[in-house]
Point group: D2
Chain length 344, copies 4
């Protein structure tokens, strides 16, 4: 609550004003509970339309970790594990929630936060070719993030190849779209919502990091792919009694393409920051065109900037350098960028 | 969204206006994430003060089932079960979430939604006196709701006796306060927040059913009773990235005793409905003085009322009668009550 | 290891001599590991033949609790519970293993250790008729023991009715045959192995309590009803590296119908004890025709007998009386019975 | 059951004859159940003496995976993971049992099947130094195998350093001794049972791979380190009703140091095979002095040998070579070795 410039993350402010205003207008409306309300129903219809997936089942859960645990538990058999790049959110920043739910993560090194169809096929083959594979965790699903945790993007061709490998080997494909708005709005991105619906067994459209107070929209393109999914969410403590709180927010995000606008605002801000960094000779880590900017700082610059800007620590590639992260959002202002640029 | 009178539950509208307004005012404030923000800190201090428990650890989770699963998982060892009355929320309406988390519920019949110290002691003795009790689930905790699921209240004397039995036998006492505001505001109630802090190992102060959009405040009166509770909540998918969304709401509830006011509004409305029912000769089920009203209807009256009022079905004691439930809240209006009275 | 007469249970001695001898003869044979050995294969063929179930999958696990947990975990979806009589082994004497595995037991009072098709249908209807049943644990399977924990038997007609209710409502039927030898050998019994194979989705043929050192044979009459069941057993720590130790024992049990002979020996011994008790005017509890004898003793007789015979405590119906249990087995001798008779 | 020479593993034959004979002699003795029998008690005393750990709690479980799952579940809090070398048995050949039990394995590359105190400290520091470590799995225990899965040994100095790191950082140390007999009998080994008792929080003395039909002896050097461990084993389906079957076997193993003799027989056989391989110019993989011999074969030799000897596949370092494994045991004969030598 100081005046210090804060670019540390995309979930440290409330909701896009359009959402809060709509919430205020409808505050006393009694529209139904547990997600069976008119706002959620309307949001579902809009999401089905945006995904060109008229049969899709759409569920609104609360947060990312909860969504990952619940979805993976729903789509995996007990003896199956999930393949993920080692930098995947489920591997490192969910306090072991996936394993707590009973499943091993088969982690692969990958490159730039991504794994390829070849990596996945090789991992599957290691299992399939093992004469004792009944003693080994069977790969049952693939987890990807788009954009990834380091801000990179899968191309449509990459995603199609991955989807093919999954289907050929009986694995389900799950895409974590915690920051999906920032992929969809990115000029470098060629993966659309209908592509995700066509290629995935399940994916989620992120709310929390893309302008809502909370909420993630889980999309199963095929109707009833997981029977009794409501009970599964209930069992995981993932049901909002006031489900309309999430539904209304997604209904607003998918009205007049607010989701697109939010993405474009953040991407434009990120691009201006990247340009300023390049102009001043900084080294950017990762080829990350989305709303996260990773920059290499030497010790002196790190201390200088840290005093004036909230950033997040990423890693320490060597004793003299640190990779720090700036993040933009729907709420990043011109003034924020100007202040940062002046400090670089 | 019709004009039909709706008294079905206390979680079908948004938040108390004071909460939404405060949210709007602070929408762009960057105050911290994952519950480490100024609003949550302020709310914690106010709750500690209200509970006269200066050492208490206070955590904000999202919903009731999630809270029950997470807390019970945190306080029970794997081989321990939890004692509950059979009508307890965890027994019937949480889709088996407690068992999904690995723990048996030792359910007791009880009376009027309550169990007594004697019931609990007898259940414990059954285990303790069994020569093979290493093969039997050990009672590790007691779960109570206050008010109960049928709107009844524990007296302070009852709660003190239960607390004593728990402490004498090494069991933890956990009170589910999903509707705690409606107990605290009830003239018949003699259990205060400081009493709960003194007598329980952990309890929660309900938000969702008491005027917030979401959120339950878990109070461990003794500091660090469960080490690493944050990681436990994270593992259960119970952490809000925007933790301030819950913190700010509880901070508002505990400012100028809004929580008390919300309770009193609902209790006054419930009392007027109960009086109207009594005046017209209806039979009330349960001696339930809180914000839920259970009324016995014959078939003709049930059909007539159902066409005009949303109520909730409770049970069917015999072929000719049905018990239905009306629920009041912070948002119940004089007009609602007048409309209902006219229909009775 | 005293000379005190011991009739406390049917698992306090080694294996039927025919089994130990065969084990000794084949001790150095290298026949395969993890259950893929010639003894296990031979045992499987004999069990398929005895069950008239040529397609059956047969697996050898180690003990009863392990088998119950593993099978129920394999046949239930996470949101499903299992219906059982309240005296069922899984309800009381497995230290909460089923709940530890994530599933609620929907316990019914029953009569004489049994539940009926009507009880099961009513329990299912309670779920099905509940408008909020997505919040409630769905009955997914029925657990029966044959003989039951109190030595009673299901009739074929009862079992057929139960099987019908299960199939009509999409529930799986699982029969725990920990003491199956003693049912099959009982004149009052009209349920055969082919009946079990026809009526159940899965059942197990008990070894530990019927003459082996350890081991239970799980039979899925329909091939591949649970894909990757080996991995599920491995995950539950239920795989014997030396699987032939179980396989060879079952192969012996099903050679020249040793399983039948073991049953008949125990039933004849039990019948002689029951007759002696009746002759001397004792009251028998339960109409239990199998190898467990439940007798009501007054305090004086209890103390007198306890000094000379190891029995097991069952329950205490009133202050003056105690129900005690004698158990016979393949190893009960004429001398044991004579000694007991002399003491009564 | 062919005459083909079989050196594939150390668990494909029955029990050491001394064990089977003793079982036969005591077959009808009624000594107690569920591990509370005179044989188990005697075995416990002998193990305590051999470990110079008079306070130790000793439990007999059935198999290795079961033991690993049960012990780790007992010593870890839900939010804790276990550090293991990536080639550890729990990482690859237990079908995900540890994760099924809710815990992440923090796997480290290591060298020759081992990890060092430095590796472990570095892994711990990664967690401790992470500002967001509440979102990350906390290392709670270290899992080692001695001998390792590739037949190598920890030195006493290495083990002492690891134990120190564990204690300094609040982690428990658990040693899997599935093949412990073969370490203890090895001239290169300087780690004794009293060392293990002094340095570990818990370890197990392997039976299945060291001459018993089944059974692993879990040793907690400190009394009551895990309260109610019996109930935990029961819940995991790890209790043998006829616990004396395991107890008697361990009692025999620890009588007249049969365990030592079994180890020496296997090590002498392994050493003769290694010498024969070296003499004939084969390349051995790993510096593995215990009862597993890893040899590099070219394609022609692989095919030739495979036709005449059962070995186990280990890995395929390049297109032309395969690493195969021979394993010796208490039952390996001079004739076996002569036959193999003739074939090399």
């Amino acid at each position: 609550m100081t005046d210090k410039l804060n670019l540390a993350c995309d979930y440290n402010q409330g909701a896009h004003p359009a959402i809060l205003n709509r919430m205020l207008e409808n505050n006393l409306v009694k529209s139904g509970v547990y997600g069976e309300d008119v706002f959620s129903e309307s949001a579902r219809e809009k999401i089905r339309a945006a995904c060109q997936a008229p049969e899709a089942d759409v569920w609104f859960l609360v947060g990312g970790t909860q969504t990952n645990v619940t979805v993976l538990d729903a789509i995996l058999r007990p003896y199956e594990g999930v393949i993920s790049v080692i930098t995947g959110h489920i591997c490192i920043h969910e306090a072991g929630a996936i394993e707590h739910g009973g499943h091993k993560i088969l982690s692969l090194p990958g490159r730039d936060g991504k794994i390829s169809a070849e990596d996945i096929q090789a991992c599957y083959n290691t299992w399939a070719d093992d004469a004792n594979h009944d003693h080994v965790v069977m790969p049952g699903a693939v987890y990807l993030s788009h954009p990834t945790e380091v801000g990179t993007l899968y191309s449509l061709a990459e995603l199609e190849a991955i989807s093919r490998v999954c289907r050929e080997n009986g694995m389900r494909l799950y895409v974590d779209g915690a920051r999906l708005a920032y992929a969809l709005a990115c000029p470098e991105n060629d993966v659309t919502l209908p592509d995700l619906a066509r290629l995935c067994d399940v994916f989620y459209i992120g709310g929390t990091k893309c302008g809502t107070l909370l909420g993630e929209a889980v999309v199963f393109p095929k109707h009833n792919a997981v029977p009794h999914f409501f009970s599964i969410t209930k069992q995981h403590g993932a049901v909002l009694a006031k489900g309309f709180v999430a539904g209304l927010q997604f209904d607003t995000l998918f009205t007049d393409n607010l989701y697109g606008e939010i993405g474009r605002t953040a991407i434009a801000a990120a691009e201006r920051i990247r340009q300023a960094l390049r102009d001043k000779g900084y080294t950017l880590a990762f080829d990350a065109p989305t709303n996260q900017i990773f920059v290499l700082l030497d010790q002196a610059k790190l201390e200088e900037l840290s005093a004036k800007v909230e950033m997040s620590f990423w890693d320490k590639p060597d004793a003299e350098h640190t990779t720090m992260r700036f993040v933009t959002s729907w709420a990043t202002t011109e003034e924020d960028i100007d202040r940062l640029t002046a400090l670089l």
